[in-house]
């Protein structure tokens, strides 16, 4: 029987930071929309992980980090607008779009961006975790410590709000 190893080991701790640092940071960013605050909270979460390293096994480390962030976020007052940037990652299927189409498309993106930024924190976090991070509902539920049904509800609400904001397309 192998003892479940705790994280009181610099190598293990570094590996956990490599694996979870960025996702946790983005998770916080979806919530607060402030890079400085995301930096602070991600640092705090990992410091707490190290301080409690004896009590946290490697398997529990991930959920520990998200729990700490969730709790920290409950205490945070300052909520900022999320600043998103359109990456144009979508593959260009065609090169023969009309200028009008391109114009419309860029207007659409602009509107969508504003609408996303205006979503409530709960809707936005769930929606962007799914859309940008590609997380499944079950993962989101675990991260936010809510049920899958609640994630579904937030997703539906987010889509409905966005559609209304942008106007029927």
């Amino acid at each position: 029987m192998k003892e479940p190893e705790n994280v009181c080991n610099e190598n293990i701790f570094n590996r956990l930071y490599e694996a979870h640092g960025k996702p946790v940071w983005r998770f916080i960013y979806f919530k607060c929309g402030d890079t400085a605050q995301a930096d602070d909270l991600v640092q705090e979460a990992f410091i707490k992980l190290w301080q409690n390293c004896a009590k946290v096994t490697q398997e529990k480390a991930k959920s520990f980090l998200y729990t700490v962030c969730n709790n920290a976020f409950l205490n945070e007052v300052a909520h900022h607008k999320v600043v998103l940037r359109h990456a144009k990652r979508q593959p260009e299927k065609t090169n023969f779009h009309s200028p009008e189409f391109l114009m419309e498309e860029s207007q659409f993106h602009e509107k969508l961006k504003t609408s996303l930024e205006n979503l409530t924190e709960a809707q936005r976090t769930a929606f962007l975790l799914n859309r940008i991070e590609g997380k499944k509902y079950a993962e989101i539920a675990e991260m936010l410590n809510i049920s899958v049904k609640a994630v579904e509800k937030r997703m539906s609400q987010a889509l409905a709000t966005l559609r209304k904001e942008i106007g029927n397309i």
Binding site: Y17, G21, K22, W25, R26, Y29, F30, T35, A38, D39, V42, Q43, F46, I47, W50, Q51, V83, L84, R85, H86, A87, K88, R89, Q90, F108, H109, L112, K113, L116, F127, L128, N130, R131, I132, G134, K136, Y137, E152, M155, S156, L159, L162, R163, I166, N168, I169
Partner: protein
């Protein structure tokens, strides 16, 4: 209609979860509401976030952890050290107090009776001091005496009384030791004591007494009594220089005595009581043809009768 909507909702979430088949997606797109959801959702995926500076944050974490770690570890140790220090102090205190010599001291006109750890009895005459070690008593029955004391020693291993004048060792007996101002007198009332002084070893048997003056044996004779007379509140001297007698008098009575024009070589044999100063002065002065008077301050002046 409602079940249709519910079915589409189900498909939408399935698609958002990346689990829908292309056919299901096509089916969703037939509904304009869901088509727009899919367009919004697809476009949303094209957004990007600011990037975390992984290195800078890790450095910040490390920097914040350093003082925490440094504070943490010494804290644990300092607690251990504090506990250890308390124990060390307690232990040292216990050791110090238990190994510390016990001393018994009497003031002028006061005698003290006490028991040693082996139940040997000691009666300390006035103005004397005894020092011994309780802790080590079982191993070495040894005490130091300055003054006069009477010992009733329980049978056992060697019992030693150390004085500046010499050492008295016994096995189990009753004896008296007087050691002051160059006069060393040992009287044995039961058993056998050995007296060591100036490289000389003398055995004093029951009912004998020796008196050593300035390192020389002066008297070796028998004693009549079964215990020293000072236990009966009397002092007894035999051919002892006057100053020693006067000093003893000063120990038994709280008075200051001055000798005027008196030959300090005068020697006294006899006894005086501890209960009546006038009687005691008479007992000393009359045989030596000395005159005494007590002034209004209570001080005693002794001078030679013929000098008047």
């Amino acid at each position: 209609m409602n079940t249709k909507k519910m079915e589409k909702d189900y498909l939408l979430h399935k698609w958002l979860n990346n689990e829908a088949t292309p056919e299901e997606l096509e089916q969703l797109k037939t509904d304009p509401e869901f088509a727009s959801y899919i367009q919004i959702a697809t476009a949303s995926s094209g957004f990007e976030l600011p990037q975390m500076d992984s290195g800078a944050n890790f450095e910040a974490i490390s920097n914040k952890l350093k003082p925490v770690l440094q504070l943490h570890k010494p804290n644990i140790f300092s607690v251990v050290w504090k506990v250890a220090a308390v124990f060390a102090v307690l232990l040292a205190g216990y050791y110090y107090t238990t190994t510390l010599d016990t001393s018994v001291k009497t003031e002028i006109a006061q005698t003290e009776t006490f028991s040693l750890p082996d139940n040997s009895e000691v009666v300390l005459n006035a103005g004397s001091k005894i020092k011994y070690n309780k802790k080590n008593w079982d191993n070495s029955r040894e005490l130091s005496l300055d003054g006069e004391a009477y010992f009733k020693v329980t049978k056992g291993n060697k019992f030693s009384v150390k004085t500046v004048e010499g050492t008295v060792s016994v096995l189990g007996t009753q004896f008296n030791v007087f050691a002051r101002d160059g006069l060393f007198a040992v009287a044995c009332y039961e058993g056998l004591v050995s007296v060591a002084f100036n490289d000389t070893l003398l055995k004093v048997s029951a009912g004998s007494k020796i008196q050593i003056e300035n390192g020389k044996l002066a008297i070796n004779e028998t004693v009549e009594n079964h215990s020293p007379v000072w236990l009966a509140h009397e002092s007894n001297f035999e051919n002892v220089s006057l100053p020693i007698v006067i000093k003893e008098l000063e120990r038994q009575y709280p008075v200051k005595i001055t000798l005027e024009n008196v030959d300090s070589e005068k020697r006294f044999t006899g006894s005086f009581t501890h209960k009546n100063l006038d009687l005691a002065l008479k007992a000393i002065c009359e045989p030596l043809q000395l005159h005494y008077k007590i002034d209004k301050n209570g001080a005693v002046h002794i001078d030679a009768k013929n000098s008047k």
